[in-house]
Amino acid sequence: MSEPVAHRTVVFDESPRVHHLLDRENVLGPVMLAPLLVYLVALVGVPLVLVFVYAFSDASTGSPTYSFVGLSTFQRTIADETFRTALRNTIVFTILSQVVVIVLATILGFVMTANFRGKWIVRFLVLLPWTTPIALSALAWLWMLDSLFSPFNWILGQLHVVAEGTPVAWLGENTLAVGSVVALQAWRTMPLAAVILMAGLTSIPPELNEQAAIDGAGFWRRLFDITFPLLTPIMMVAILFGIVATFTDMAAVYILTHGGPGDATQVLASWSFYTGIESGSLADGAAIGVFMFPVLLGVCLLMLRRARRAEVL
């Protein structure tokens, strides 16, 4: 690893000493890493610590200084009804949307692994929800779910489910609004999960299934005893990405419902934003955000565990 390689290199050297030093791998490595590490420590590491510092303080956007107030910010946060709704919604939205994603992404992954004509256009279309900036697709949904002009209203009117021309409060009625946000989150995280599953499916050696078929295992038996168990680890990666995306997102709620009606669709990220930026209370906003941390930590640990296992292979 660290054999000296300096003798090979001094050919067109103007500053021999610097070059000599940089040709030593144990010096060059850290030097090359330094810019990235300094940057990440300053703009991810320090802010991450500051979130916790703010949560124990009375920091606000109005004043440049702040003092520590112990747990009182947390006490206020936990006592707040909106916060509790937001916490519950964040968990419920994430679980519901990811259950939908597991089912749909598995089906899509299966049909997309086959080779067929026109695959590229199908792939382009099914990837759109993932590739489009969430704020813009939420805007498209906002129009699609317009209470007066939604195409679904017209269809429901034709089917006489609702009287023709009556508004349907897709985003203005609690259950419908919750359903709309969950649907949007499932819709936008599903394509990535499907794509990751596709990669997993193609990496299963076909001989396994062929041999099992020869041994008399039927389609469903092979599906449940070979394919699904082999897919589980990669499915987990897909779902972990989906969990992070849904759990920490604020754009969908911010644009689609503004957290409403009332606070029925408020989530931690949006409530933290409204409190910290729009109401200017950094401390309260940070205390709300801190409640995202345990789930993120859990996801990171699971990812790392999987990574370590992959390295053994």
Binding site: V5, T9, P35, I107, L108, L125, L128, P133, T248, C300
Partner: protein, 280 residues
């Protein structure tokens, strides 16, 4: 057997069409809406799936001529270019060092870098808003230039590590034997071979900076400094005046190029995720 195969093919197409509709319908609807005349769009009772009045380009023209849409596009583009430069300047050397020079602890560092990719903007935006304010960058595109590499550099580094590892060491060692310094050898041999990876980083960085919503709405207040993805939904619908056709045109005009870009690097991205690339 033939009948069965045909049935399978037919069933597959039914499923595929279902998914294509599910995924693309909001965009198809947006496109269809963009060309509708006001009197057509806003009349309850009109069949919404038809052009009851002749389609019009008027609202697309309004988007380009009478809104700040093009300003948003220019801001996003400028930010994208600068962030690409910063991302490459930090990620390329770091990835090379992790892949070649640091051995055991480099691998662990690669994992740490990947984990940083999972720290979301919605957790960091409050302290960052204060840092941005203290640096005097609030309401300036430079605030976004400063923070966007936190989104792009970790992932790019992780991606490039995989690329550098797939290039045989012999190639640059041969160049070093031939008299090049390590830096010279890397520039002449490794970087050209890693070009697809560098291109992926460029596209990915553009896509991610376009995607951000949180930082843009938290740091930027005047519409002349807004990016596309925050400016269109926030600035173009200030007040209660919605001009839906223009908004939908903007959505589609951004969604399509970004999707094309993603399709370009998707295979590489998936390969990395799927084949244990997470191990760094």
């Amino acid at each position: 057997m033939v009948a069965r195969a045909q049935a399978v093919t037919a069933a597959r197409w039914v499923v595929l069409v279902f998914f294509a509709l599910l995924c693309a319908f909001p965009f198809a609807w947006a496109t269809f809406t963009s060309f509708k005349a006001d009197a057509d769009l806003y009349t309850v009772g009109h069949v919404p799936f038809l052009y009851n009045l002749p389609p019009t380009f008027d609202h697309v023209r309004v988007l380009f001529q009478e809104t700040e849409f093009l300003t948003f596009v220019r801001n996003s583009f400028e930010i994208g270019v600068i962030v690409v430069a910063i991302t490459l300047a930090t990620a390329v050397p770091a990835a090379y060092a992790i892949a070649r020079l640091t051995g055991e602890w480099g691998g662990r560092l690669a994992m740490a870098v990947f984990v940083i990719y999972l720290v979301p903007p919605t957790l960091l935006f409050l302290p960052l808003s204060r840092i941005v304010a203290e640096l005097g960058l609030q309401d300036s595109i430079w605030a976004l230039v400063l923070v966007y590499p936190t989104l792009t550099a970790p992932f790019s580094t992780w991606l490039l590590v995989g690329f550098f590892r797939s290039i045989p060491r012999d190639i640059e060692e041969q160049a070093m034997v031939d008299g090049y310094s390590r830096a010279g050898a890397v520039v002449r041999t490794v970087l050209p071979l890693a070009l697809p990876g560098l291109l992926t980083v460029v596209i990915f960085t553009f896509a991610l900076t376009t995607n951000d919503f949180v930082y843009a709405v938290a740091f930027i207040s005047s519409s002349s400094n807004m990016t596309i993805s925050a400016g269109v939904p926030v600035e173009l619908i200030r007040g209660d005046v919605f001009f839906w056709q223009s908004l939908m045109a903007a959505t589609v005009l951004v969604a399509i190029p970004v999707a094309l870009a993603y399709n370009f690097f998707l295979d590489r991205f998936v390969q990395g995720l799927a084949l244990g690339g997470v191990k760094g």
